[in-house]
Amino acid sequence: MPKREYIASDLADKMFVSEPESAYIEQPNRRLSRFDDGHLNVQTRDLAVLAMLSLTAISGRDEGESMEEKFIRLADTWEDETKLMSSMNDIVTNQTHLQIVAMGPDVVPLILQRICHHPGWWFEALRFLTGQDPVPENARGKLLEMTAAWLKWGEENGYS
């Protein structure tokens, strides 16, 4: 199976893990939650939908590029494109971020390696890609504490 199709299938599996596909078809608004002003509110499942949509925007530019090289290129681009943003919604719905999420769970160790040296707001991607959220409620919004929680999770789950 071509790699991209595999990734798309994997994301689809994650999307429908808790509800049958029919639930999405019958109640599409229930899945794509929105802020009450009509703007998209990214929740983990929404990120999956957006990441799948972003697959259509991926060009053949990654031909001959290793996964690590591609991740570093996209991560650097994402950080540059979002450097002036303070809205987390803008930051995680950025097209490059979605392309990283669309690369699938194989990038989890690369993200953990990156935040170990350079903490950043990768937590929504990690939540989606792993299905986990090790961040305690009182640490939300605190970058270093959230990073520490994810790195500890990584160690406990064989990513060190």
Partner: protein, 149 residues
């Protein structure tokens, strides 16, 4: 001849309305706090309505400017007319683009303003309109609260 600060050069490129002589960079780049927190004097929190960030439970989770007015009112601010320096008060200016709050700046006791630029630096700037533009939009509200002694 002084070596130009690369951080200052970057800010000048991003905000062409900011005159070089009218601002200075006051920190290194950091993701630890955003402009919304910094405007309220917080430097260890990313205040944002998206789930996973720090946000009061009692407030709506959206980015409309009205919600950010509610946030600052919850933090002790009240709406005020303008950004003129008033003895005993600290002021916050809110920027909006397409109805959504995109930036906040805080007035310092000397009348200058301090802004955290996204995931980049804190700057001190003389004029608020130096940050107006495609990223942060325009200034729509001023708030004030008694300055902590």
């Amino acid at each position: 001849m002084d070596t130009p600060d690369p951080r200052k050069r970057e800010v000048a490129l991003l905000f062409p309305r900011l005159n070089d002589s009218e601002f200075d960079v006051r920190s290194d780049a950091t993701d630890e706090y955003n402009c919304i927190a910094w405007a309220a004097g917080v430097n260890n929190d990313w205040l944002d309505p998206t789930l996973g960030c720090s946000w009061p439970d009692s407030l709506p989770r959206n980015y409309v400017t009205k919600t950010f007015l509610m946030l600052y009112q919850k933090l002790g601010y009240v709406l005020c007319e303008d950004g003129r320096l008033e003895k005993g008060y600290e002021k916050v200016a809110l920027y909006e683009r397409n109805g959504l709050c995109k930036h906040a700046a805080r007035q310092l006791p000397n009348g200058l303003w301090t802004s955290k630029l996204g995931k980049l630096f804190d700057i001190e700037h003389q004029r608020l309109d130096g940050l107006i533009g495609k990223d942060y939009g325009v200034i729509v509200h001023f708030l004030k609260r008694p300055r902590a002694k």
